[in-house]
């Protein structure tokens, strides 16, 4: 399965395309696409220039777990620098 991710234009924050076609800050809110659909949806969001700086596809496995070659990179994007427990999304998840 694929998820569409990007960096929000205004502040660069990591975002994921959600089911209601909005940008969500949590991977758990992301919409999953199969390969065939993913590319056409990506094409459609990439032209929403005023929302995101960059959008691309990432791979997720069952239950939305980050998978594939870029899993570590995407995990770090999802949660913030591994060397700063106080920064990134770790805080939000603790609540």
């Amino acid at each position: 399965m694929k998820v569409i991710t990007g960096n929000r234009l205004s502040d660069g924050a990591v975002v994921y395309l959600s089911g209601n076609d909005q940008w969500a800050t949590r991977l758990t809110d992301a919409a999953f696409f199969d390969k065939a659909d993913a590319n056409s949806v990506l094409g459609a969001v990439q032209i929403r220039e005023a929302e995101i700086a960059e959008a691309y596809l990432i791979e997720v496995g069952d239950g939305g777990v980050l998978a594939g070659r870029e899993a570590l990179r995407e995990t770090i994007r999802k949660t913030g620098p591994t060397v700063r427990s106080d920064l990134g999304r770790k805080q939000e998840f603790k609540q």
Binding site: N7, L9, S10, D11, G12, A13, V14, E49, A50, A53, E54, G68, R69, E70, A71, L72, R73, I76, R77, G80, P81, T82, V83, R84, L87, G88
Partner: protein, 551 residues
């Protein structure tokens, strides 16, 4: 210190206004990311993994207290309370919002700072020996030359679209503190037989995918010809450097394709043409710039400070800090203080807003308002009276900036790596932290002596791994982090590129590997021999054996 003239101030102001307008158009969607990206990069604004990153230039590494306070202010109000000093004497903010960047640039302009020449295929900010105007061993102050190069290269129309980025570094002593042999152009200040000041010009060094130690193409260039000669080198490169392949576009590739002699001949021929075209500054202008860097009003002091010696006798930690972190000053009774940004287990080069303010306060009161950034990701207070060293030490200690490890095993250079960088293969910082913790004992570190570990998270080599006595390069192996160890590199006067030791190691193995190498060195060294010298004396093989021996 150099102050902006009206021309500079207008230039920077216009650039900020222009960028503010571009950001507005980008936010409205009028500019696409594709159109905007080159514009933001020209203003030092990158997009990294979690956010934008703004790279602020610190030309030749010189900062005033006021400028440092401004960086603290930006870190606190627009970022997440810290900044990161890089191997290019820049400061990076890791979390600025695009909407705030024009305001940040305005704030920087208030203290004559900017983010120009921190990105793109132009002549980047010149880097320098950090002890300019202070070191006992300096031939001449390198900063006026840095400033001349800054003025000449900023927005130079002919060189704003080079085949690739272009880095110039200057060192002011035989003891190379600016890694001049691994830059596109390295300049070493020295005096010729009749005592005239000039430069050894070294071209075609560089790290990255194809590392090279540079070649000396001119052993003595009179100081007054600096700019015309640089222009000749740049012209040869701009004309003949490859533009078809990004990885073959640096001057090092051209120089090695032509051969150093032929390259030198081309430069000399070009120089003969342009030498008298008025590129070089007139003597009066050189003196004017040198006057900006006139020494501060030093006091007449005894060589030794009784007070300092009393304190070092009773405070062992202070004594060690003096031995390890201070350097001889050219003026009697003064010392150069290195401020380590490598706390044990900390993030190399990171500094909090409060620490920036502490350094600014100390510099204002005890170092003639001067601060320097080093390419090894530390800071320097260049002019401290020996009698003030104890209070300076105490105040640094209160700010957790007293780690006595300059040049030692835990003074590790590490690039941001996969914790921040969009280009990274692997993380660098956690490896640095774990090595630093493994060798936490400062007494042991001092006993080990100079040992330079440098870590890069990808082949771009921002962490200078090729010139580490022990270099560590992150490589991606099917999505897993692996690390390749290189041995025997040096970025100093005895520059060399490290050799690959063998198969890649996992992140756990690599920390053990460093420990094994160090243990072997302790066993193999002769008294007072540095790690690098032992390696050079006995060769790679025994080190490799020690590294890969079954546990």
């Amino acid at each position: 210190m150099y102050r902006y003239d009206e021309f500079d101030a207008t230039l920077v102001k216009e650039r900020v206004d222009q960028f503010r307008n571009q950001v507005e158009r980008r936010l409205s969607g009028a500019l696409t990311e594709e159109q905007f990206k080159p514009l933001r990069l020209m203003n030092g604004l990158y997009l990294q993994l979690h956010a934008y990153m703004l790279r602020v230039a610190i030309p030749y590494g010189s900062l005033s207290s006021k400028q440092m306070r401004k960086l603290a202010h930006i870190a606190r109000n627009y970022d997440k309370g810290y900044g990161h000093f890089t191997t290019r004497q820049n400061l990076q903010f890791n979390w600025p919002a695009l909407v705030d960047v024009p305001d940040i640039l305005d704030e920087l302009a208030e203290v004559e700072m900017h983010a120009i020449q921190t990105s793109g295929n132009c002549i980047r900010n010149v880097t320098s020996d950090q002890y300019g105007g202070a070191a006992a061993d300096e031939v001449a102050d390198p900063r006026p030359y840095g400033e001349m190069i800054r003025q000449w290269s900023t927005f130079h129309p002919e060189f704003s679209f080079l085949p690739r980025k272009f880095k110039i570094a200057i060192t002011a002593s035989d003891n190379d503190r600016a890694a001049v042999r691994v830059h596109d152009i390295g300049l070493r200040l020295h005096k010729n037989d009749v005592g005239k000041v000039g430069f050894e010009v070294i071209v075609g060094g560089g790290l990255g995918r194809t590392p090279y130690v540079g070649h000396t193409i001119r052993s003595f260039l009179p100081e007054e010809n600096l700019l015309s000669y640089l222009e000749a080198v740049l012209r040869v490169y701009n004309l003949s450097g490859r533009r078809d392949n990004k990885y073959k576009a640096r001057i090092k590739i051209l120089l090695n394709a032509e051969g150093p002699e032929e390259f030198a001949r081309l430069v000399e021929a070009e120089w003969a043409q342009i030498k008298d075209n008025g590129i070089d500054l007139l003597r009066a202008e050189i003196s004017r710039i040198q006057n900006y860097f006139a020494p501060p009003p030093f006091e007449k002091l005894a060589v030794e400070s009784v007070e300092m010696n009393e304190q070092r006798a009773v405070d062992g930690d202070f004594d060690r800090w003096l031995r390890v972190n201070t350097v001889a000053h050219k003026i009697s009774g003064y010392a150069i203080v290195n401020v380590s940004l490598k706390a044990i287990g900390g993030i190399p080069g990171d500094i909090t807003d409060a620490q920036m303010e502490a350094v600014a306060d100390i510099a204002e009161r005890y170092s003639h308002d001067e601060i320097r950034a080093t390419h090894e990701q530390n800071l320097v207070l260049p002019h401290v009276k020996k009698g003030d060293l104890y209070i300076v030490y105490k105040r640094l200690k209160a700010a957790c900036l007293d780690t006595a490890n300059i040049g030692l095993v835990s003074d590790i250079i590490a690039c941001p790596g996969l914790d921040y960088c969009a280009l990274a293969n692997t993380r660098s910082i956690p490896i640095a932290q774990r090595i630093s913790e493994r060798f936490a004992n400062l007494g042991l570190q001092e006993e080990l002596g100079e040992l330079k570990i440098k870590i890069s998270g990808c082949i771009n080599a921002c962490g200078h791994h090729h010139v580490g006595h022990i270099g560590i390069l992150g490589v991606d192996k099917k999505g897993e982090e692996f690390y390749q160890v290189t041995l025997g590199g040096s970025g100093g006067a005895d520059a060399s590129i490290g050799e690959i030791a063998g198969r890649g190691l996992s992140s756990n193995e690599v920390v053990d590997a460093v420990e094994k190498l160090v243990a072997f060195y302790r066993h193999a060294k002769i008294p007072n021999e540095r790690f690098l010298d032992t390696y050079r004396r006995i060769g790679a093989e025994p080190f490799k054996e020690a590294l890969y021996a079954a546990a």
